[in-house]
């Protein structure tokens, strides 16, 4: 069974790696963004703490959201339109194997993309990598939980767009707005209070907050809403999104188009 899921995951990764322009844009995008932003804002936000240190957290978060949420919410309706899903449905393949394949593909891309981003930021923009095992561990679980939540949300959201053609129009604004209100481009606490409250309902804000605890000195915790990085709440909110999105996936996922009945 898990063998089948691995095989499905390999197939998905293979398909991704073979569409060259997709590979280049997906993997390089966060790194390009760090080059742009790192070159514009090269001042320090505190003595000894460069702007990159803050911005990298937003870029990791937004990168995870893009490959997990945005990409799947667009890719799945396209596959549904082309009848790929209908074809799988007509085989004895257990349905979860399809989702597992997507999760494995997303995890593969997300890890690769994040490594490239951290590499570029460290080499050219003076990023200090986490200096303790605890911080690396936090990075790992925040990323893992964030990827899972975003992947499941992406699969769930794939049922919103009725066709592959309309999917980008439906998904892109959601992703873009979340980036602006979740502290990816601006310092989160400088946003209006109501905006912070809205952002706090969604995963991206919590992913970024968790990542800030990894890349910023502990003293910065006091500047967070609530006066600390509040990692238990990060875990709780992301976990809750995983559960909610999983329920949505299982109850609302569409294998066929409307035309197929």
């Amino acid at each position: 069974m898990t063998l089948l899921a691995r095989s499905q995951g390999r197939l998905e990764v293979k398909q991704f790696l073979r569409s060259r322009e997709q590979v280049v844009f997906t993997l390089a995008f966060p790194a390009i963004m760090i080059v742009v932003f790192g070159s514009i804002f090269d001042q320090e936000i505190a003595p000894g703490v460069g702007y990159t240190q803050y911005f990298v957290t937003g870029m990791i978060g937004t990168g995870l959201m893009t490959v997990a949420f945005q990409a799947l919410a667009i890719q799945i309706p396209t596959e549904r339109d082309r009848g790929v899903l209908k074809r799988f449905l007509g085989t004895p393949m257990p349905k979860w194997v399809y989702f597992a394949g997507k999760v494995l593909m997303v995890a593969f891309i997300a890890v690769l993309e994040t490594v490239i981003l951290l590499g570029v930021a460290t080499m050219f923009f003076g990023l200090d990598l986490p200096d303790s095992g605890t911080k690396w561990l936090t990075l790992l679980w925040v990323a893992a939980l964030g990827i899972t939540a975003c992947t499941l949300c992406g699969i769930a959201f794939s049922s919103v767009a009725r066709t592959g053609r309309s999917a980008p129009a439906v998904v892109t604004p959601v992703a873009l707005i979340l980036q602006f209100i979740s502290g990816v481009f601006f310092v989160f606490t400088s946003l209006p209070g109501w905006m912070q409250n809205v952002a706090a309902l969604f995963p991206l804000k919590w992913i970024c907050q968790g990542l800030r605890s990894v890349f910023l000195p502990a003293s910065f915790g006091t500047q967070e809403p609530g006066g600390s990085f509040n990692l238990p709440t990060v875990a709780l909110v992301l976990g809750a999104w995983c559960v909610l999105a999983l329920v949505l996936c299982l109850t609302t996922f569409k294998w066929t188009t409307k035309r197929d009945g």
Partner: protein, 286 residues
């Protein structure tokens, strides 16, 4: 022996419009059954209910002894049902960036007793294309890949929904041979098609469906009383005029003509083709 497919009183409506209106159908084990009918007659709806893709509104359906509606719900009684059924849909999705061999190998893993993927690729005539990306295939080659994916699990029952649409004549002949081989191996086949010569070449029995109703079921040779229908005898008179007459006793007519003219110019004796009786039937029903 229990039929492979048994349907009684099948009904399906879409938003008030009746798509399938009381269809009864039996397909025996090992039989090749062709469903004929104009577009929108209810062929695909019927077949997709049997395949488990659509829910029915009323009627009984048994496919390999299992109700497809139950099978799709993942019910315990129906475990393994999908293993035994092969499906070739109308126009299915491609895996653009994968090769023919990769896709067939992957699908083989879904089944408990799959055929050898290499042999399957060869059987559908894609041996030379085994390492080609699927998006480089022609329309007919893509259709063969669809068939490969439908048979790689060694199904007892194979659904083929308009399998040869877009084939050139040679490719169609090759495809027919593939179907005959499958039939010889004991596979039951339910086929929908627009091509009457395809039904005639392959099917043990054909069913004509129009406006959601199955209006006739018979062997291709006997459909619409073709075998006993009046024959048309035509010939040319010495003046060159074309004469024709419809008769139940063509042999007698030809004997008379031979006596009158000796060698009869332009003599033909024809019975209605499958196409003639089919067009009559759907014309009457409309």
């Amino acid at each position: 022996m229990e039929p492979a497919i048994r349907v009684r009183g099948l009904r399906k409506t879409y938003a008030g419009a009746v798509a399938v209106d009381g269809v009864d159908l039996d397909v025996g084990q090992g039989e090749v059954f062709a469903l004929l009918g104009p577009n929108g007659a209810g062929k695909t709806t019927t077949v997709e209910i049997l395949e488990g893709y659509r829910k029915r509104d009323a009627g009984e359906v048994s496919v390999l002894g299992v109700d497809p509606a139950v099978a799709v719900g993942g019910h315990k009684r129906a475990r393994g049902w999908r293993d035994r059924v092969g499906i070739v849909l109308q126009g299915t999705g491609e895996f653009d960036e994968l090769t023919v061999g990769e896709v067939v190998r992957h699908f083989a893993r879904f089944y408990p007793r799959p055929d050898d993927p290499v042999a399957v690729v060869e059987r559908v005539g894609l041996k030379e294309k085994a390492d080609a990306r699927t998006h480089t295939l022609s329309g007919g080659q893509k259709r063969r890949l669809d068939v490969a994916l439908g048979i790689v699990g060694r199904p007892e029952l194979l659904f083929l929904d308009e399998p040869t649409t877009g084939f050139d004549p040679e490719a169609r002949r090759e495809f027919w041979q593939l179907i005959r081989d499958l039939q010889a191996g004991g596979t039951t086949i339910l086929l929908t098609t627009h091509y009457l010569e395809e039904a005639e070449a392959l099917a043990d029995r054909v069913g004509v469906i129009t406006r959601g109703r199955l209006i006739a079921v018979d062997s291709p040779a006997r459909l619409g009383h073709r075998d006993t229908a009046e024959a048309t005898v035509s010939w040319r008179t010495p003046e060159g005029a074309l004469e024709r007459t419809r008769t139940a006793t063509p042999t007698e007519v030809v004997a008379d003509l031979a006596e009158r003219y000796g060698e009869v110019p332009g003599l033909t004796v024809t019975r209605p083709t499958l196409e003639d009786v089919y067009l009559d039937m759907i014309g009457d029903a409309a």
